[in-house]
Structure formats: C-alpha cells, structure tokens
C-alpha cells in the first residue's frame, strides 16, 4: 500500500522531468537517432551481443516494449525493468551488482567503477502512459541501462584478457581513456565527453541495440 502511494506521488516527478525545456526541444526536433557518422565500429562479438540484447528485450517486454510498459502499472514497470537489467548483466557475464531505484534525479543511472555496482533510476517510467513522450522515456531508460552495462563490459574486458574478444588495441584505448586525468567530464566539455573512446563506444552499442526496438 505504502509502495503504491509513493509510486503514485512520483508520477508527478516523472512528468516534471520530461516537461520544460527538454520537452520543448523534443517537440521542436522530434525523436532523434544517433547518426551513423557519429558511431564507432562494433566488432563481430559486439554485433552478436547486440542481437542477443535485442532478443532479450523481446523476451522481457514482448514485440513492443513501449506498449507493454504503457499498459503496465508503475509497480509492474519497475519489476519489468529490474528483470531486464538483471538478465542483461547475466547475458554479458558481468560480476557486478545491479539495482533499480526510483529517485527524484535527472540522471537515469550510472556504473560505479570502484564498487562495480550499476544503479538505474527509472523515474522516467513513472510518466503518464498517455504522455506524447512516453516512448522517448522508455527508450531513454533502456538506453541508459545498456549504456552503463557496456561500461561494465569495458571494465571487465580490461581486467580479463579474452573476455568479449576485445582487441588489444581497443583495450589499450579504453584503459588510456580511464587513466588519471584522461576522462573528459560531461560538465566540462559535452562534445568532448561523447566523442572520447569509452563514451563513443557505449553510446554506439546502446544505439545499435535499440535500433528496431519499439
């Protein structure tokens, strides 16, 4: 009962997140996809795992994730997304903790490199199902989960030779990007942030998984 009350109260918070300037920009610019020119090359193993990730999305949410989540209650949405995040971490053979929460925060999740824990904030899924931005909220939530777990893949690929068949050249490029003073923070130079090796890789991987996912 208390859980229902809290979640109901959070609906207005979820709505608030997509309102305002971002909502205005979505209406002005429409839903965007990552241009091919901005994507980095994915390996054969990446392509295979992209397909398996898409299959997992279908297993967890059916043919149309947006409509499945639209028809679900808030508690069901939380449970569905929690199951997806846990199963995706298993699919990627990650030895990390995964947690799904609802917080009044703009960030939809992060992978903590030090503690090896990924926490996903699914506040956007508390938005009203009739919102014209509901599909965008679903895609943003899925994108964040896939993007952050890709960071955990990068981390494990550096720690464990042979994992994910990552080439030595890529492992070195990723490790160099994570070395002291070599990471460009989003709050400093947003363009530089998205173009640096580990972020460009995560953004491409997540975008390719979500291609063809509704």
């Amino acid at each position: 009962m208390l859980e229902s009350i809290i979640i109901t109260a959070l609906i207005s918070v979820g709505l608030g997140l997509v309102c305002g300037v971002i909502e205005g920009l979505m209406e002005r610019w429409g839903q965007r996809s990552l241009p091919e020119a901005a994507q980095v090359e994915m390996s054969e193993t990446d392509q295979q795992m992209i397909q398996e990730s898409q299959q997992l999305i279908q297993e967890c949410f059916g043919e149309n994730a947006t409509e499945t989540l639209r028809a679900a209650s808030n508690i069901e949405r939380i449970n569905l997304m929690n199951e997806f995040a846990q199963r995706l971490a298993q699919l990627y053979d990650l030895d990390i903790d995964v947690d799904v929460v609802i917080q009044n925060a703009n960030n939809q999740g992060a992978y903590n490199w030090g503690t090896k824990k990924a926490v996903f904030n699914i506040i956007l899924l508390t938005v009203d199902a009739d919102s014209p931005h509901f599909e965008a909220c679903v895609r943003e939530t899925l994108d964040t989960i896939i993007h952050e777990l890709r960071h955990a893949v990068q981390h494990k690929a550096i720690e464990q030779d042979g994992y994910w068949n990552v080439s030595e050249e890529r492992r070195v490029a990723w490790a160099n990007n994570m070395a002291p003073g070599n990471y460009i923070r989003a709050s400093v130079d947003y363009k530089g942030y998205v173009n640096q090796p580990i972020e460009a890789d995560s953004a491409t991987f997540a975008a390719q998984v979500l291609q063809g996912v509704h």
Binding site: L17, G20, V21, I22, L25, M26, R28, W29, R32, S33, L34, P35, A37, A38, N106, N107, Q108, G109, A110, Y111, N112, W113, G114, A136, E140, D143, T144, H147, E148, H151, H155, I158, R171, V172, A175, N176, N177, M178, A179, P180, G181, N182, Y183, I184, R185, A186, S187, V188, D189, Y190, K191, G192, Y193, V194, Q196, P197, I198, E199, S202, A203
Partner: protein, 133 residues
C-alpha cells in the same frame, strides 16, 4: 579582438575546472569558427551572452534551463552549428556516466605500464599560441 590564456584561465578558475581542463577548453575554443570564438571572447571579457539562436536554442536556455556551465554551453551551441544531428541527439539525453579515472585510474595506469605503454593525453594540450582571436 583578442583573448589571452591568462584572461581565460582567470575566469574559468572560478568555475570548478582543473588547470588541465582549462587548457583543454582553451584549445577547444581555438578550433571553433570565428563567430563562436567571438561569443566566448565577449563572455570572458565583458560577461556578455550572445542573443543568437542556433537550431532554435540560445546560450541563455542552455545555461539557465538545461544547466550547462557557460563554457560548456558555448561548446554545445557551436556543436549545433557544425553537427546539428549529433548534437541534438545528445542534448536530449539526460544521463551522464561517472568519471572512471577518479575511481580506477591507477589500475588503468598499471595496465598500460605492464605493456610498456605511456599514458597519452585525451584532452587537448596547449599549442604554440596563447591567444584566441
């Protein structure tokens, strides 16, 4: 109109940047087109924001409504000019990853050193001229 590195650094040091980040940003501005460089120079020297819209967005909206620091907002506005499709895709994203270098940077250094590889800079470093014009 010219802007020295010292003038640039004096303003940005008050905005929670490291010196390394300020050097990177200085070089980022140098690579912008003339119009964008002039926007930054006027902001640093006179505290003025341009009224120009790029793809329907102003610097004021980026700073006041979307929460970008001013220097980052100039980068994003310039990005909207040079690669609008990519810039729009990322502006609409609200999640940003944590900095791994703070948490596991030294492990990465060990990884590189075990291969006799020296860490190479990802951020832009100071070049020959210390002036933006």
């Amino acid at each position: 109109m010219k802007l020295s590195f010292q003038e640039f650094e004096n303003i940005l040091l008050h905005d929670d940047y490291t010196v390394k980040e300020i050097r990177h940003l200085f070089n980022v501005v140098k690579k912008m087109d003339k119009e964008s460089r002039l926007w930054v120079i006027k902001w640093i020297l006179f505290g003025e924001y341009p009224n120009d819209e790029v793809e329907g967005v102003t610097i004021q909206e980026l700073v006041n409504d979307l929460g970008y620091k001013p220097m980052n907002a100039f980068i994003v506005l310039d990005w909207l000019k040079t690669d609008p499709d990519t810039a729009k895709y990322f502006i609409l994203k609200t999640s940003h990853s944590q900095d791994p270098s703070e948490q596991i940077g030294h492990e990465m250094l060990d990884f590189l050193q075990s291969r006799n590889i020296h860490q190479s800079p990802v951020m832009l470093e100071q070049t020959d001229t210390d002036v933006i014009e």
